[in-house]
């Protein structure tokens, strides 16, 4: 029962930490650290929630989570899936329900990840196929494909062998040459650091819990941080100011017919403005001790959660 209580506390703590992280100002100063923190928090939330349900449900075996699971398996196989030692204790029905909920949550999270990956791969293949047919090379942007469309767009299509950077004719028109190089550097950073893989678990969470607003909010927070990581990289390779003006030109070029609300509603500042202002007036980078402290507490939390799975109480 002790481990169940502790794991539940950690699960709630993760949600509280995520809510604080969402509104904290330091992530913009250390986007890489913040992205890792988000990942650790997300993973720890999953492990602790599932662990808490199991720990509570498996109390009658008195072996903790890992030992309890083994006992559950042998109990189930010995009695033809009737969990005699769970069901016949006080609170038996609730405990069985908790175990079922734990397995259900695991399944939902796992299926979400698989479904997301399949969906992403399929979307990319279709996109890639069409791109081959309708895009062209342009001597002005070596290594990128050009789409003849008046709206401004630049993006990358990640993949192991077939990654591509695509830029629209509209974008070529509004960008100066130096700004264009900054944009390409930004997209190259996405491809090189495989930012799509970082985002994948969060988009699969979104898929698993489509109606939960909080998940959507956190997904956007991580997506914005990833953009900031690529901005920083491009700013180092080119200049932050070139990238900032490129961002502004994109924002003001021609796709204003998109209905409002396409971006996070309730955001006082649009995401692009936040990216631009930190490029133009960069705040001091997150100090090394502060970064180390954040990472250390995040990993301690995860290690504690994992060890609680082994606690036989």
């Amino acid at each position: 029962m002790v481990s169940a209580a502790l794991l539940a506390t950690i699960a709630v703590g993760c949600l509280a930490a995520a809510a604080r992280l969402r509104w904290a100002s330091w992530p913009a100063r250390g986007p890489y650290i913040a992205v890792i923190t988000w990942q650790v928090l997300g993973l720890t939330w999953g492990i602790s929630t599932i662990g808490a349900l199991l720990a509570f449900g498996l109390v009658p075996y008195e072996k903790g989570v890992i030992g309890g699971l083994a006992a559950l398996a042998s109990d189930a196989s010995a009695h033809g899936l009737y969990l005699s030692r769970l069901a016949e204790t006080p609170l038996g029905a609730v405990r069985v329900a908790a175990v079922i909920a734990a397995f259900g949550l695991t399944l939902v999270l796992f299926c979400g990840l698989v479904a997301s990956s399949v969906h992403v791969l399929r979307t990319r293949r279709r996109h890639h196929d069409l791109l081959e047919l309708v895009s062209r090379d342009d001597p002005e942007v070596p290594g990128a494909r050009v789409l003849d469309h008046p709206a401004a767009a630049a993006y990358c299509l990640p993949g192991v062998l077939r990654s591509k950077i695509v830029i629209s004719a509209g974008a070529l028109e509004v960008l100066a040459r130096s700004e264009l190089s900054a944009v390409l550097a930004h997209e190259h950073a996405h491809l090189r650091q495989r930012h799509d893989l970082v985002l994948l678990p969060f988009s699969s969470l979104k898929r698993a819990f489509p109606r939960v607003r909080m998940v959507e909010t956190y997904y956007r927070a991580v997506a914005l941080l990833i953009e900031m990581c690529a901005d920083d990289q491009a700013g180092r390779e080119r200049s932050p100011k070139e990238l900032a003006t490129a961002l502004l030109r994109f924002g003001t070029a021609g796709n204003a017919q998109v209905p409002a609300g396409a971006m996070a509603a309730g955001d006082a500042e649009p995401e692009v403005v936040r990216r631009v202002s930190r490029l133009i007036a960069p705040a001091e980078e997150l100090s090394r001790p502060a970064a180390a402290a954040v990472l250390l507490s995040a990993f301690t939390l995860m290690a504690t959660t994992l060890s609680l799975w082994h606690l036989p109480m």
């Binding site: 997301s116 969906h119 992403v120 979307t123 990319r124 996109h127 196929d129 069409l130 081959e132 047919l133 309708v134 895009s135 090379d137 789409l147 003849d148 469309h149 709206a151 767009a153 630049a154 993006y155 990358c156 299509l157 990640p158 695509v166 629209s168 944009v183 997209e187 996405h190 930012h195 799509d196 985002l199 988009s203 979104k206 898929r207 997904y219 990833i226 953009e227 690529a230 100011k241 900032a244 003006t245 490129a246 961002l247 502004l248 030109r249 994109f250 924002g251 003001t252 796709n255 204003a256 998109v258 409002a260 396409a262 971006m263 649009p270 995401e271 692009v272 403005v273 631009v276 133009i280």
Partner: protein, 120 residues
């Protein structure tokens, strides 16, 4: 881009240029300057049909092929993906800037004017 992609594009150009559906032989004839074997064109059309960008129908003993959609609609589909308007596509590709509302664009326009001013 590889040779196969090149061929696929050439075949699509032929199909897009015509109003009606074409047989393999007619496509080959349109690409006569490339000196392609009949089977090569057939293979390319088959690949395009599998990708869903070409629709085929049987007429007598021959298949006839036509584009499943216009070139413009494919470009728009790609741009829709790119500007993040097709819903859950965030992880599939990463756009430099998502599309934004009129107010946001207006705020940016002002910011840009301020930056551009010293230069002019």
């Amino acid at each position: 881009m590889n040779r196969l992609g090149d061929l696929e594009r050439a075949v699509m150009e032929v199909l897009w240029a015509e109003d009606e559906s074409l047989t393999v032989r007619e496509v080959s004839r349109a690409l006569a300057d490339r000196d392609l074997a009949h089977t090569t064109v057939m293979t390319v059309l088959d690949r395009l049909a599998k990708k869903g960008v070409v629709a085929r129908s049987r007429e007598g003993r021959a298949w006839r092929y036509r584009p499943a959609a216009s070139r413009e609609s494919y470009v728009s589909e790609l741009m829709f993906d790119a500007l993040g308007q097709t819903g859950d596509r965030g992880a599939a590709l990463a756009a430099f800037v998502r599309s934004m509302s009129g107010n946001e664009a207006e705020a940016l326009r002002r910011a840009l004017a301020e930056i551009d001013q010293p230069r002019t």
